[in-house]
Amino acid sequence: MLKVIQNRLEQGYRTTKYPKESISLYSRYRGLPIVHQDCDKELARQCAEACPQQAIDAEKMVIDLGRCTFCGQCEIQSQGKFVTFTNNFELGTADREALLTSGSLPDLAEHSKQHFKSLFGRSLQLRQISAGGCNSCEADTNVLGTPFFDLQRFGIDFVASPRHADGIHVTGPISNNMKAAVLSTYEAVPAPKVVIASGCCPISGGPFWGSKDIVGDLNSLIPVDLYIPGCPPHPMTTLHALLKFFK
């Protein structure tokens, strides 16, 4: 018992004050990219060529955050001339097209469906479905339950049964072997329901694009309401997206 008390005192209170106070991540974190429109086209093309995810459109000078794994190669290769990654973690969007960006994303709060806010603003229960990814997305969703983030203080929680859920949060590129489970879990959630695609995997196939063993685009199976880019999305990216979209 004494040890319990002693550890409690040592560990102290650790929950972040976000969103009341802003939070800044270490400079090396790669968040929203800013594509420099004045960059030499040839350099942009070289970056596009070298991008492992084919996420760069050198003609339109945009990066597809639905494909990008934020590996940072394009920034290093162009020495920051084509693109610089800021440490802005606010990356969630309500539609797929908006993820093709040169550095500014639409305000998520304004683009969310208003009835979601009235339905789920005070309580949002999600069923997480892990479908063929690498498990980092799941891991960094799980941490939202740890004391630092403490997601439950916002009335948001992950539940065991789809019947108790208001929506699904899907990670992974939807392996063919998980397709049936994704669909039946989705069906088991009572309507109205929300669908969240988390990480580049369920948006575009992520690192596994081109594999014949995956579906890739979740939106081709069921309509997606909220996209959270990243590989994996930083927990703050997910927290921000959930708060903006539903609160």
Partner: protein
């Protein structure tokens, strides 16, 4: 061992030097090497340039690694009845290439996909049905027997898999674990994408995200060997530290989760938070909490300099006393110990027979640690760790993790003290792979032995890319640990192993 070629971890050899044995000789030699002291590192098939099906075995025995190969017919006498270490490898080969190992005691599919050669399916599936197809689960019959089926979608935020228990009341007689739900074709993709080599590291670090460093190290070392790239000393130290940070983060997370599973909440919450601090240290080096993007063939993608080194050493100094105290809290609570001790025991004999690796193996008394046996990177500078409790129960697996956390913390501090600024590699990196070559890489990632094996063709294109996650060896260990155990101890046993679904499913 006379028929096998001794090789070194991470050193390329010409494919022509690999003994191409007659099948019977191959089988005898490989079984001789593995029946007692040797273990299987890799055992896989591939089609060579003439579309001849070939079999390769990579065996470790003591400090040595050996390789040999042979041609493979559509049927062959199974290795498994003689030596259980081959059981899953043979099932994998049957699934990937439509080859039947005759008299395999438990021939069922592994990941549920059609074979690569368009051969008749060994399991009688046409893949129009959903997983597991026409496979009837193992059943225990009797009036008092009931069956519990769990998954693929589980109650928490975890990966999918199906667990089928055969029980009498609370007691589990048999647990069958069916995976494959996470199968996304990673090996095939690594082979296809091999034309554009720059995709490979991104795929490799997504084989198992919690082992991003372990798998990307194996990948990078293999490419470095085939392309003749040198890695500087500073980068080696950074890569070693990254692997140790990955180990600490995962072990701490699991100790917390184990505590949660026995309803002792303080360590669950503290370790949950502390794990995050280590992921943030990974971000300090890599810009990503799982270290993705850091390790690349030739070295590291981002420089790790005085600033980053200082953040890491300060944080470690800061958190270490807390980790020690929370560990003490967890391991001295008698309510915890009564749940940990003698739960989910895997005997040394079984662990050895099945070829368990990593902390699961060490907790059962198999001391193998690839960091010591086949050191890569800067591991020749790191002292060996010792494990005190090795009786194979949950308590042993937890204790090994605790010991490894302490060991890793001090190893990182020692390595950080070496004042070497680690510069990054130039981008884009341009390299070509040596033709007609073979390489195998082995690293002790946090769960145990990760290994990648590459074969190139006469043009230096990747002919076969074989990946093995330690989970491939260890899932059967979890199934064994549940025998005659209360079903309510499943979460605890499961967490004590904490195996990878995606690393297994590929």
């Amino acid at each position: 061992m006379d028929n096998l070629l001794p090789i070194q971890n991470g050193q390329a050899v010409s494919r022509a030097d690999i003994p191409d044995l007659d099948f019977t000789v191959f089988q005898e030699s490989v079984l001789d090497a593995t029946r007692h002291s040797g273990f299987v590192v890799q055992f896989f098939a591939y089609e060579d340039e003439q579309s001849t099906l070939k079999l390769i075995a990579v065996i470790r025995s003591g400090l040595k690694i050996y390789v040999a190969g042979c041609s493979l017919a559509d049927e062959y006498p199974s290795f498994t009845p003689e030596c259980e270490k081959f059981h899953m490898f043979e099932r994998e080969i049957a699934e990937q290439f439509g080859v039947r190992p005759k008299r395999h005691p438990w021939l069922k599919m592994v990941r549920y996909h059609a074979n690569y050669r368009g051969k008749e399916d060994v399991f009688g599936n046409d893949y129009s049905q959903d997983i597991p197809g026409n496979y009837p689960y193992f059943i225990v019959e009797g009036d008092a027997i009931h069956e519990v089926a769990v998954g693929p979608v589980h109650a928490g935020i975890i990966e999918p898999g199906h667990f089928r228990f055969q029980c009498a009341g609370e007691k589990v007689f048999s647990l069958e674990i069916q995976l494959g739900y996470q199968h996304r074709g990673a090996e095939k993709l690594l082979e296809q994408a091999g034309q554009s080599l720059h995709r490979l590291p991104v795929i490799a670090e997504s084989i198992a995200g919690d082992t991003a460093i372990g798998h990307s190290l194996c990948h990078s070392q293999a490419i470095e060997a085939l392309a003749g790239l040198e890695v500087n000393e500073g980068a080696k130290i950074v890569r070693t530290n990254a692997l140790e940070l990955e180990r600490i983060a995962n072990h701490i997370g699991d100790l917390g989760a184990l505590s949660g599973d026995v309803a002792f909440n303080p360590p669950f919450n503290y370790f949950g938070r502390i794990r995050g601090e280590f992921l943030n240290l990974m971000l300090t080096m890599a810009g990503n909490r799982f270290g993705k993007g850091l390790v690349r063939p030739g070295g590291i993608a981002f420089p790790v300099l005085e600033e980053q080194r200082k953040i890491i050493s300060d944080k470690i100094a800061d958190e270490t006393p807390g980790i020690v105290n929370v560990c003490d809290l967890l391991f001295s609570a008698h309510t915890v110990l009564s749940r940990f001790e003698h739960t989910g025991t895997v005997s040394r004999a079984n662990a050895e027979k099945l070829g368990l690796v990593g902390y699961a193996g060490r907790a059962s008394g198999l001391p193998y640690d690839a960091r010591i046996t086949y050191p890569t990177e800067a591991y020749d500078l790191v002292e060996a760790n010792k494990n005190e409790r090795t009786v194979g129960d949950v308590h042993s697996r937890a204790t090994v993790r605790r010991e490894e956390i302490t060991h890793s913390l001090s190893s990182i501090s020692e390595l950080l003290a070496k004042e070497i600024d680690a510069e990054s590699i130039p981008v884009p990196a341009v390299y070509a792979l040596a033709p007609d070559s073979f390489v195998v890489t082995i690293n002790e990632a946090w769960r145990g032995e990760v290994s990648h094996c590459l074969l190139t063709d006469k043009d230096g294109s990747i002919l076969r890319y074989k990946v093995k996650d330690p989970s491939f060896h260890n899932w059967i260990g979890l199934a064994m640990s549940l025998r005659n155990q209360g079903i309510s101890d499943f979460p605890l046993c499961n967490k004590s192993f904490n195996l990878s679904y995606c690393g297994f499913d590929l």
